[in-house]
């Protein structure tokens, strides 16, 4: 046991003496969470719109006010003619234009229907779609109110189906709810797998592996001794990310901390064993870095459902995605933090991670050579 602790102590010394390692370990997670938190968001707030309203009657003014009071939109320009639309979109000052016909209110009152036009800036299709959807929802709402109000009282109410949707667990549809688990998954994978593979490759590169091998240390002792400090530091990272998510971005924590801790630990263990697996092949730190970045980071970002929804992927890519631990870990974090569910709901994902841990560590230790070559 003394041997093992000596090894762990040595490893900690390597880490805290290497400024770059420290930076990657603790600087990167904080920067990434904050960066993703403030940048990667599809929420709409105070989007600039233009209004072209030749009718200027109570109905059109009321609708415009309703849109603005929702908080999603802000009238940046009141246009006088359709010719002004194009320049406004071109210089990028508006994201959406609302165009009323002449005598909008009159038509609505007398004919029961009236048309308005919503023009979106689809050079950014996601934002445009979101804005149009928001605006549509508000207009629909306005229409119901209008039908019941005195203005339209003489008209008999038409039969209508009202679909009232509620977004559970995240009623405000905050993007943080998606990215905090995602960033956590990414960072833990990065720190655990990449750092482990690099640190093991470093021993080979520096020639110290040769000396370690010609010692009574067992392969398992070398591997565990090298990874234990990273496991501890990764755990610290997980805590850091969760705290930033909760304190800075208002992420809820509805489930048990203990369960989340256990799941993080499990996930990190899988990542570490992947790192070891990579290092049994890679001879240099550079090779280890590239292999782990390419084979672990990219799938974690792209295929796990962190950024792109898995449901909309081709079946083949969905299947490929299941091979990566991140795909199973993200639902766990979301489940525990946002839905507050327990192990009884997450046993399947947990079991998959346990299986991966067993397989990867088994293969790594088998592949770890007690000789050179």
């Amino acid at each position: 046991m003394n041997r093992f602790f000596a090894f762990v102590l040595k490893e900690f010394r390597h880490i805290y003496r290497d400024r770059r390692t420290m930076l990657i370990l603790f600087g990167m997670p904080v920067v990434q969470v904050l960066l993703f938190g403030f940048v990667l968001t599809n929420e709409v707030k105070d989007a600039n719109i233009a209004v072209l309203d030749p009718s200027k009657d109570p109905a059109s003014i009321r609708l415009t006010n309703k849109l603005v009071s929702s908080g999603y939109f802000r009238v940046a320009a009141n246009l006088q003619s359709p010719e002004q639309l194009e320049p406004a979109f071109r210089n990028g000052s508006i994201k959406l234009a609302l165009v009323f016909p002449p005598d909008f209110g009159h038509t609505l009152d007398h004919e029961g229907t009236a048309k308005i036009q919503l023009i979106g800036d689809a050079s950014d299709p996601n934002t445009a779609t979101t804005l149009i959807n928001y605006a549509n929802a508000i207009i629909l709402n306005f229409q119901q109110e209008y039908a019941q109000s005195s203005l339209g009282a003489q008209q008999a109410p038409q039969p209508m189906i009202l679909a009232e949707s509620r977004m559970r667990y995240n009623p405000e549809e905050k993007a943080v709810f998606n990215f905090v688990p995602g960033v956590m998954t990414l960072i833990l994978m990065l720190v655990s797998a990449m750092m482990t593979s690099i640190t093991l490759a470093r021993e080979k590169e520096m020639g110290t592996m040769e000396v370690l091998l010609v010692s009574p240390l067992k392969p398992l002792q070398i591997v565990l001794g090298k990874t234990a400090p990273y496991l501890a530091l990764s755990f610290l990272n997980a805590v850091l990310v969760v705290l930033i998510g909760m304190l800075v971005f208002g992420m809820p924590m509805r489930g048990s901390f203990l369960l989340l801790g256990f799941e993080c630990f499990l996930y990190m263990f899988v990542a570490l064993s992947l790192g070891i697996l990579i290092s049994t092949r890679a001879q240099t730190q550079m090779a280890a870095l590239f292999v782990s970045a390419l084979s672990l980071m990219m799938p974690t970002i792209v295929l796990s459902g962190f950024i792109f929804p898995r449901e909309s992927m081709p079946v083949f890519l969905q299947a490929v995605g299941t091979a990566f631990p991140a795909t199973w870990f993200i639902p766990i974090v979301k489940g525990v933090m946002i839905k507050g569910v327990g192990l009884s709901y997450l046993w399947k994902e947990t079991l998959v991670l346990v299986g991966m841990a067993v397989v990867f560590i088994g293969v790594s230790v088998r592949n770890f050579k007690s000789r050179l070559e």
């Binding site: 602790f5 102590l9 040595k10 520096m206 020639g207 110290t208 010692s215 000789r371």
Partner: protein, 321 residues
């Protein structure tokens, strides 16, 4: 009671098409400093790695301290100390931390075996809080030796310990090795420096994966058969080419500030004996001849001397055969 500390039998190892070690056999007696002498690429490091259980030989067997290097490698690794050719300690750890780490890895403490490393460690002591990467070449080597010795190994493997170390430190290093031998540790050392070869008890001359000769350094030099001269003039480069053309079988090569000239042994060998008297008698009348020859070639400041063969001369001779 085993009589051999290291026993290598018909070891061969190839990396793809390159045969690094070809059918090598040798024995090292307990408490001996045995040198593997050869240029870079002779197969020294490969042999070391086979004997330290880091590589599996393609064919042949080897045992170290009575333990088979393939089957008993786990036990073996407790009993040997290995210092690779490249500096292989943790550069970002201090002198003391490195030593402490290796002591712990072998399940011992610095205090327990301090007697063994004291002579070396006292020189390192003033730098014990310095990081290993910031040490001089000689100091690094001393630290590496300390780390390889900290568990009191029965057999010590030193792969090119003299490389990258200044002559004074090298000399000190060898003095330490001789003291270690007295503490009953068998030492296998490899080197490309011929002057270090003369400090070993016995040496094996290695060339392209094959052993050319195994003997004591004295035995090897005593076996040298050819008349040998040291010569110099103002134009050394031309001197060497001229002397090579002196007579068929003449061999000439740079040797420090002189050129060594080896004449063909077979043509004029008087007896099979290699007693120095015989050869000096024969060479005494050769010197004026050589001087005359060089004068006709237009050399100035000519100096031709009798000289005795060193390991390097023997090595060159063996390489050519």
């Amino acid at each position: 009671m085993q009589t051999k500390s290291i026993k290598a039998q018909n070891l061969s190892k190839a990396y793809g098409p390159v045969e690094a070690v070809k059918n090598v056999s040798f024995d090292v007696r307990p408490g001996e400093i045995f040198g593997l002498i050869g240029p870079d690429g002779a197969g020294k490091t490969t042999l070391f790695r086979i004997l330290t259980s880091l590589l599996l030989p393609d064919t042949g067997q080897a045992s170290v301290d009575g333990l088979d290097v393939v089957q008993d490698y786990k036990l073996l690794r407790q009993r040997i100390g290995y210092m690779p050719g490249r500096f292989s300690l943790y550069q970002d750890l201090t002198v003391q931390e490195n030593l402490q780490f290796f002591a712990n890895v072998f399940g011992t403490t610095i205090e327990k075996n301090y007697a063994l490393i004291r002579d070396i460690y006292v020189q390192l002591e003033p730098f014990k809080h310095r990081r290993a990467g910031a040490l001089s070449g000689g100091m690094k080597q001393k630290l590496a030796l300390c780390c390889a010795l900290i568990h009191k190994p029965r057999v010590l493997f030193l792969d090119e310990p003299g490389t990258g170390v200044d002559p004074v430190s090298r000399k000190e290093f060898w003095e330490m090795l001789r003291r270690l031998r007295d503490s009953d540790i068998t030492i296998l050392v490899s080197t490309a420096y011929m002057d270090e070869a003369e400090l070993c008890d016995r040496v094996a001359l290695l060339q392209k994966g094959e052993i050319l000769a195994i003997d004591t350094p004295q035995g090897i030099t005593a076996n040298y058969q050819r008349p040998l001269f040291a010569a110099r003039s103002d134009d050394m480069y031309r001197l060497i080419t001229d002397l090579r053309a002196l007579e068929p079988g003449a061999d000439c090569y740079a040797f420090g500030e002189y050129a060594h000239l080896a004449l063909a042994a077979t043509a004029t060998r008087p007896t099979t004996s290699t007693r120095p008297t015989t050869s000096s008698r024969r060479t005494s009348n050769a010197i004026p001849k050589i001087q005359q020859y060089l004068e006709t070639k237009g050399h100035t400041n000519i100096e031709v001397l009798n000289t005795t063969a060193t390991i390097e001369d023997c090595f060159i001779e063996l390489m050519h055969n």
